[in-house]
């Protein structure tokens, strides 16, 4: 492969993102990226005023009759669900209907965390279980076409809450943080960006809505994908569906929040081979493993870089410490891949073949047929240690607690619906 196709990507001088970020990244004349610039707002905004703004926004949505829920809150057994419910129930005093789409890659820890969540906060929950035959058919198609094993999980988790808002006539949907804002500064907090179908298709779903998966050449049918359709504009309008992000009104700091939730609500965490973060996505066998491996193939960086950038921006890691952690984890092999092969019904070698088709030639050189060498930012000189801040181990203010494991059973297995107690 000619080296010319290694197009020129620039790195931010403060964090570890480059202009190859799939959400888009703009670097200003001082070499600072849009993500870092918007993060600066977290230390300049008056968060008391932001909170009062949030209270005024949610006020009209409170059910007057008390005969319906005040809002719909998407939750999982990992991520920000605990802190979101803490804000929604304890501080905003809203009565939420919890919703989640079953991604089927559930860890026992995730099942436990979700059960503990809805027990501690005493909330009703709806779990959508789309028939696994359709889910497998879709994954075979999205893995082949654009290298994703996660499309149904993302499509379901971003559609079901909105569909529920329409069906239950509960217009307000409340999310945690806006990924575009948090990672690449897609919006300022002041923009108070809301949930949109465009962002979902463009970024959550890599450009493919449910109907875009259908083609005369593929075996997928409408019966497989219709449950992933976003409600149409007519329904959104008639119910007045509005999705807001708490991260626009509360200074979002996932590490601190998770640690508060571990103290106050017994959230449990677990370690991963491919990142140092122990709080994020402990509910999934694949998000930090096979899915993250594909991310490295397609975009030349992994979740560990997302976590490092976040901690650098929060001042708990120097850029060098962050890069050192990335170098330590980025090439670690994904765990539980065999379990995925069994579940989907593909041979390991065939899976590797499928994944290799989606290696981004800007970050991978095929030195010989099906022999690949990584040439991403951490190795091609785009990201380099400055040699200043690397003495000693990473700073002690960036320690992640690990009080459990993804699966304590001797042979791990996906859980479809679990008990989650004790």
């Amino acid at each position: 492969m000619a080296s010319s196709d290694i197009t020129e990507f620039r790195a931010c001088s403060r964090c570890l993102y480059t202009t190859a970020h799939p959400l888009g990244l703009v670097i200003d004349e001082e070499g600072i990226c849009s993500g870092c610039r918007v993060h600066e707002e977290k230390d300049s905004l008056d968060w008391n005023e932001r909170w009062m703004r949030l209270e005024s926004i949610v006020k009209p949505y409170r059910s007057q009759s008390g005969r319906n829920y005040d809002c719909v809150v998407p939750v999982t057994g990992g991520g920000d669900s605990y802190y979101v419910l803490h804000l929604v129930k304890n501080l905003l005093k809203l009565n939420p209907l919890l919703v989640t789409n079953n991604k089927y890659f559930n860890t026992p820890l995730g099942v436990r965390n979700l059960a503990n969540l809805r027990t501690r906060f005493d909330c009703d929950i709806l779990v959508q279980n789309i028939n696994p035959d359709s889910v497998r058919k879709i994954i075979r198609s999205t893995l082949r076409k654009f290298g994703s094993i996660y499309w149904p999980c993302l499509a379901g988790q971003t559609a079901f809450p909105v569909q529920t808002a329409v069906r239950y006539e509960v217009p307000l949907v409340i999310w945690g943080a806006h990924q575009g804002l948090e990672q690449v500064g897609m919006f300022s907090h002041a923009h108070e960006v809301q949930m949109t179908r465009r962002y979902r298709r463009d970024h959550d779903l890599m450009g493919y809505e449910a109907d875009n998966l259908l083609s005369t050449f593929d075996s997928l049918t409408e019966g497989d994908i219709w449950q992933y359709r976003y409600p149409d504009d007519h329904d959104l309008k008639s119910i007045g569906v509005t999705g807001i992000y708490l991260g626009n009104y509360v200074r979002w700091d996932p590490k601190a929040q998770h640690e508060q939730m571990i103290r106050d609500y017994a959230y449990q965490s677990a370690g991963f081979s491919r990142t140092f973060d122990t709080y994020d996505f402990v509910d999934c066998f694949n998000y930090m493993n096979l899915h993250d491996q594909l991310k490295l193939y397609k975009h030349g960086y992994s979740k560990v870089t997302d976590h490092a950038c976040r901690e650098i921006r929060h001042g708990r890691l120097t850029r060098d410490h962050g890069l050192a952690l990335v170098l330590q984890h980025e090439q670690k092999s994904a765990e539980y891949t065999g379990m995925f092969c069994d579940w989907l019904g593909v041979q390991p070698g065939a899976l590797q073949f499928l994944m290799d088709n989606h290696r981004n030639r800007s970050f991978w050189r095929e030195t010989a047929p099906r022999q690949w060498e990584f040439s991403g930012p951490t190795v091609n000189g785009t990201l380099q240690l400055s040699g200043v801040g690397t003495q000693g181990k990473s700073s002690d203010r960036c320690v992640f607690k690990k009080n459990s494991a993804l699966d304590t059973r001797e042979n791990a297995k996906y859980i479809t619906i679990g008990k989650g107690y004790p």
Partner: protein, 256 residues
Amino acid sequence: MLKKRLVAVIVVKDGRAVQSFGYRRYLPLGRPEILASNLDRWGCDEILVLCIDRGRQGLGPDIGLLKRLASMRLSTPLIYGGGVMTAEQAALVVHHGADRVCIDFALHQDDVQPIREMAVRLGAQALIGVFPLARLGTGLQWLDHRNGVSRAFSRENIALFDQGVISEAMIIDWSHEGCAGAFDIQLVTRFPMHNVPLIAFGGISEPSQAAVLLSLPQVSAVAVGNFLNYTELAAQRFKQQLPDLLLRPTTYSRYV
């Protein structure tokens, strides 16, 4: 009765849709064709895809982008701007699915002949002249964004409009771009030629601004860019707060 128009603007830099603030600061948004497909479903009156870095770098129109836009099967009129210098390029842009073409007049100050050829080839109704303006006292300043220099703007800069070679002029209040409620209406009222239909763009976030602008006979359309990206059904929400005789009624698409 001919309605006035809400033009939805997608600003494109390095092939990606961005929010643009005052022609100097940008925030990433996503894929232009996905934004366009969304605006199409919202029933905007026209969609303007404005590539802001092609003219300066002499790259010509972004045909790849136009092909991606065409694959979205838009049923909304599409205006393309960015890097169109010759009649041949203008024809190519139309061939690839655009209905109208924006010309950055700053790039044609010394030679307007290519614009005449475009009018002959495509018809004047397909051409829009783009003018990033600012007010200096009571006069207007015209920005050449290639070098950031502003010069006085006067009637002879737009002589072509008198000869009917170009149908509409797009006034961009570039310094207020991305700044809520900041469009300077005097850029329209002080425009040196009164029979040229004007499209106002840059800092229009409030329906109340649009109502005032659209009430001026010379204004045929208002254009909104950044501010359509913050909420769901933003275009319908914006139009519905305008007196309904001004714009055509909003629509809400249905699957079935």
